[in-house]
Each structure stands twice: as C-alpha cells, then as structure tokens.
Amino acid sequence: MRIAYRVLAYLICALVMLQAASHAWASAGIALFIGEGGTLDPSAEGPPPFPEALGFMIHGMNGMYAIPLVALVLLVVAFLARIPGGVVRAVAILALVALQVTLGLLGHEMTALAFLHGVNALAIFGVALWAALRAGRTDAVEPRRSAVGVA
C-alpha cells in the first residue's frame, strides 16, 4: 500500500507536468494560428483547426477527470497505507485539485483566476512530491498494532 501511495503521488506530479506542457503547447499553437489569420468558434464541438488544439483537449480531460480520479484513489489508499501524515497530505492534494478545477473553469471569463490556476498547479505538484518523498522514507511506516505490544 505504501508503494501504491508513492506511485499515485508521483503520478500526480507527472500529470501536473503534462498539464503545464499540454497547455503551453496549445497556447503556442493558438497564437500561431491566430497570427496567421485564423479564427475559431471556441464553443463548437470538435477541435479547432490547428493540431496543437489537442493540447487543450488533453488539458481538459486530464485536469477535470484523470487528476481528480487519481487524487481520490490516493486518499483511499492513504487510509490503508498507514503512513504518518499520509492521509493529511492526500486530503490536501484532493482539496487543492478541487480548487484547481474551479479556478480553471471560472478562469475562462474571470481571467485573474487563471493566474491563480497557474500558481495552484505548482502547489499541487509540491504537495504531491512531498507526499511521495515522505512516504518513501524507511521510518515512515506506522508500526502495526502487534509491534506496540512487543515494545
């Protein structure tokens, strides 16, 4: 369970990296597309006519579904993994992810929230990395009940 916890925490780090990368890629693509005279119907179904638009789809699916799901599973695993502080850090990650989705959705019109969305992304990355590293320490395993009796 401790290994599962570590893998999931590192996975969140990796997915946050994918979020930053996909959005940067798509932003460059849309700037180039508009710079060359393109227009788009941002609400239409289907991707806009530039290949980097795939980055927006990755960002949306990964951010709204994949990362929240992994954060939820991490919390469940945390209850079973008996890592000191493991549950607290998993709760913090899930709360930050919920905040992140909210900031992302509202940031479409209230663009200042998109600024905070970028800051919060690093907070998620940082807490997830911290959780993974702490769970990896050899003394980080909470003793089993039987061990208490022997001591």
């Binding site: 119907d41 609400s43 239409a44 179904e45 209850f79 549950v87 479409h108 209230m110 909470e142 208490v148």
Partner: protein
C-alpha cells in the same frame, strides 16, 4: 522501535484507529450518496418535454388540472396527459394557400470548405448555407423539407420567428425528427419583418455546425423610406475544421453599390460562440434579432456584439471608396466595382444597446408581471442522465430537475437571467421576443431592445419581459449548442397545451 510505538502512545494509536474507522464510514456514506445521485439522474428511455423539469409557476396560483405537469409531482414518466390542446393543433390556417413556397432537400454529404478541404457536413438543396428565403410581411411561408440522407433525422427551426408552436421544428417537442426518406412541411405567416435564420433542431450541435442552416428575411409590407439600394445577408459561420466564413466564403465577399447609396447588411451569427462586427464607415444599428430599433443614431468606430444565434442589421451610406463590414477573419465589401476600403482592427469600444437609440412604449407593463421567474445559470459536478461531469445548472439544479416555466396565455412574464457559471451564455427563448428591462440593475434607457438571443456574460444579470402570446411548449436554452447538450436547456410551457412527442434516448429525438 521508534518512540511512536511506546506504550504512552497507545491512546494516540487508538485515536488514530477511531479516526480511520470514521473516515472509512464517511467514505462509505459518500459512495452511497454518489451512487444514489447517479441512479436518480438516469432518465427513462422516453419522456415528454412536459414531464421534464420541476414546474415553476412564477408566483401565480396553479390552475387545477390545467397544465400538463400533472400536479406537483415532478414526474419523469413518459406518458403525457391527454387533457388540453395538443400542440399539433397549433398551426397556421390550413385553408390559406401559401404565398411563398420553398422545397428543401437535406443531405449528409462531403462539403468542400472554402480552404479547399473536404469534410463530412450537411447541405440543403446541395449547398450550405441553404437557400436564402425571402418573404414579405404578412405572407404565408410554406417550406417542404425532405430528408434524403441525414441519418440521425433532421428538422427545421425558424430562429427568431414567432411561428405557431407545431411549426417550431424542435425534435421531440413539436414534432418527431424527420427520418431519411421522410418529409415535413412548415407553414407560418411571416408576421414580423426582420432578419431571421433557420436551422436544424435535431442533434443541432452537430447539424448546425455541419451546415444545416440558411437565412430567412421578412421584408416589410411597405418598403423602407428611403429605400435601401442594396439589402444583403451576411451569415457568419465556422464549419468544423476551418476558420470563419461569410455566406460560406472565407475572406472577402463583394457587393456592388454606388457611392452615396444606402445599404443594409443583415449580419447573423450561426456559430455557437458570440462574436463582433464592425464597419469602416459610419453606420446605424437599425435592428437587433429581427426587431427594428427606435431612432438609432449614427455611430463610428464601435464594434457591435452579435451573439450566437443573434442578428444585427447595419445600415450605412456607401462612401466614394466603398465600405467594409467586418467580423473576425471575414469581411463584406460594398461599394463601386474595384473599391478597396481598408481592413480595420476590431474597435476597442462596443456599442451598448442598453442606451442606444431613443425610448418608445414597450406595449407591456413589466412592473406588475403575472409571472416572475428566475433563470440562474451555474455549474456543478454531478450526473446528467447517468454521465458524470461538470454540468450547467439552472437555479442550482441539473438535468431533469431544472425548473420548467409555466405560463398561461396572456400573462406578462418577467424573467431574471443571472450567470455565475464562469462562461458566457447566449440564451435563446423559442416562439417569443423578450424586451430587456435592465442589466446589472441599470435600467434600459435607449430604444426598446427586443431579443430572441441574449448574451449573458459571467457575473451579469439581465431582467427581461415578454407577453405569453404564443401557446405551446417552447425550448428556452443556451445557443452555444454544445451547452444545451450539457444540460443548459429547459422549456416554457403553456397551461393547457400538451405534446404527443417524446424525448429520451429511445425516442429518436435529440433536439440538442
């Protein structure tokens, strides 16, 4: 053994175990709640539009046995009640011969985009946009639609025209989708002069984007004075996988008009996102959504918002070098042959219809309405017919739990539309024109601003009013068509009107 394991910490260990047990119980309860919400969100295979949503009487007393909701029970059963007027009887005079008759054949086929690229789209009589339909005010328009090959079935909705309810073209509400090989005839009297458009209202988010639409112009019974030397439509549309087009052409469309002549450009936004238009010459915004504005003043260097589904009619006098009417990526040139008016960047300042033009009587008393409704748009995680996601909400509810607005014929209706959802929503009410009373508490002070499609931005609150003078069951939805798929839709239901048509995954009807 580390210190944490020593005996004095036994109590802490017990506490931790208790907390863990509590956490597991909480997780279990949460799981049950989520599963229950999922199960409750699943709609039956077929259901009536009258049974969708929770009746909202807008402060009026319920009429016993009057409307089709069957009392307070927000039933999701498929069977509509049989009392009242069936929507199928709400038609134009069947004995009256048509003044304008058009036959339209809908096909699914490869369309060649302006850039030369071919995509799978839709055509009407072999073209997209479909044929421009022109009628004179008061004429009876008859359109025979034949679906040759649109597999999902199709319909035609007369966007902005207050047609009789049976002619509204909404699959599952006013008719069944016309299957391949089937036909449907639409008949209505063009009572109000103005700029309109028609489009599919079956799987509309895909069929409209793919090309199933066209322009409808109702010319006034008496010609404008002074008359327009040129009166043209500019349909703004973005086909899947391309940039914006104007009347199906990317880049520039040219019309010849003598210098000094008066021209009218009827701009319609057939996309799912709001856009803007502007002109290189001074202009007047003479109509919005098909209704003339009262004493609109001449402006220059302003952009005009054209919401999704909305229309804006510009009138301008052609300068010697011609004029260019622009929207992002496209433009329409009017002027002497060979004229090359400049391309301008979109102006930073926008024309605000809230205080544009001069006031005139509204023809309704909105201060004391018979029905007072709230249409508050939000966004929440939840289930829409069993699908998890972050969906749009109306008054905090989603899917089948949204309010259904109930009115009686003759009611003056006031509605507050507020948007806290994080995105702009172009709200479209079928079958009626509503007048804007205020925005964010600021009363409208210009010309009466009648709309059928209204841009409500995040954080904005509009108050609108209309007279319930067109009995039926009418969609009231976001014209960012994918948003309607995502739950931003409900109905305006008249007491005593019933519909035999059904919605739902097994009905074959999917108006969104």
């Amino acid at each position: 053994m580390p210190a944490a394991a020593r005996a004095p910490d036994g109590r802490r260990a017990r506490l931790r175990r208790a907390l863990r047990a509590l956490g597991l119980v909480a997780a279990g309860v949460l799981l049950v709640v989520v599963l229950a919400a999922w199960a409750a969100s699943i709609r039956p295979g077929t259901y009536s539009s009258m049974a969708m949503g929770v009746p909202d009487l807008g402060g009026a007393a319920a009429v016993v046995g009057g409307h089709g909701h069957g009392g307070a029970e927000p039933s999701t059963e498929g069977a509509p009640t049989t009392a009242g007027t069936p929507i199928t009887e709400l038609v134009a005079d069947p004995a009256r011969p048509a003044d304008v008759r058009v036959e339209l054949v809908a096909r699914a086929e490869r369309i060649v985009l302006p850039g030369g690229e071919a995509v799978d789209g839709f055509t009407l009589n072999g073209s997209t946009p479909g044929p421009e339909i022109r009628a004179r005010q008061g004429e009876l328009v008859e359109v025979a639609l034949r679906n040759e090959s649109v597999a999902a079935g199709t319909t035609l909705h007369w966007h902005g025209v207050d047609v009789p309810a049976a002619m509204d073209g909404v699959a599952g509400v006013t008719q069944d989708a016309v299957p391949p090989g089937g036909s449907s005839t639409y008949r209505f009297v063009a009572e109000d002069a103005g700029s309109y458009w028609y489009h599919a209202h079956q799987v509309s988010h895909a069929q409209v984007a793919g090309g199933l639409f066209g322009a409808l112009v109702v010319e006034p019974a008496e010609a404008a004075e002074p008359p327009h030397a040129l009166d043209v439509v500019a349909l703004l549309h973005t086909y899947p996988g391309t940039s914006r087009t104007l009347d199906g052409v990317s880049g520039e469309v040219r019309h010849v008009a003598a210098a000094g002549s008066l021209v009218r450009v009827r701009i319609a936004n057939t996309d799912s996102s709001p856009t803007v238009a502007w002109a290189s010459a001074p202009f007047r915004l003479i109509a919005i959504d098909g209704t003339d504005l009262h004493e609109p003043g001449q402006v220059e260097g302003l952009r005009v918002a054209v919401t999704a589904g909305g229309r804006a009619d510009l009138e301008l006098r052609v300068p010697p070098g011609g004029a260019r009417v622009q929207a992002p990526g496209v433009s329409l040139v009017v002027g002497p042959a060979g004229a090359s008016p400049p391309e301008l960047a979109a102006p930073a300042e926008a024309l605000d219809p809230l205080d544009y033009g001069e006031p005139a009587p509204l023809g309704l008393d909105a201060a004391d309405p018979d029905r007072d409704f709230a249409y508050d748009i939000g966004r929440m995680p939840g289930f829409l017919d069993g699908r998890p996601g972050i969906w749009w909400t109306i008054n905090g509810r989603m899917g089948g739990d949204v309010p259904a607005y109930v009115v009686a014929e003759g009611d003056v209706v006031r509605m507050r539309i507020a948007n806290g959802s994080g995105e702009v929503h172009p709200m479209h009410l079928h079958g009626h024109h509503a007048v804007v009373l205020s925005r964010d508490g600021v009363p409208a002070s210009g010309s009466p601003w009648w709309v059928d499609s209204l841009d409500v931005g995040h954080g904005e609150t509009y108050e609108i009013a209309f007279v319930a003078d067109n009995p039926g069951v009418w969609m009231d939805h976001c014209h960012t068509l994918p948003h309607a798929v995502e739950g931003l839709q409900t109905h305006l239901v008249y007491e005593g009107v019933t519909t035999p048509y059904l919605l739902g995954r097994d009905s074959g009807n999917e108006p969104e």
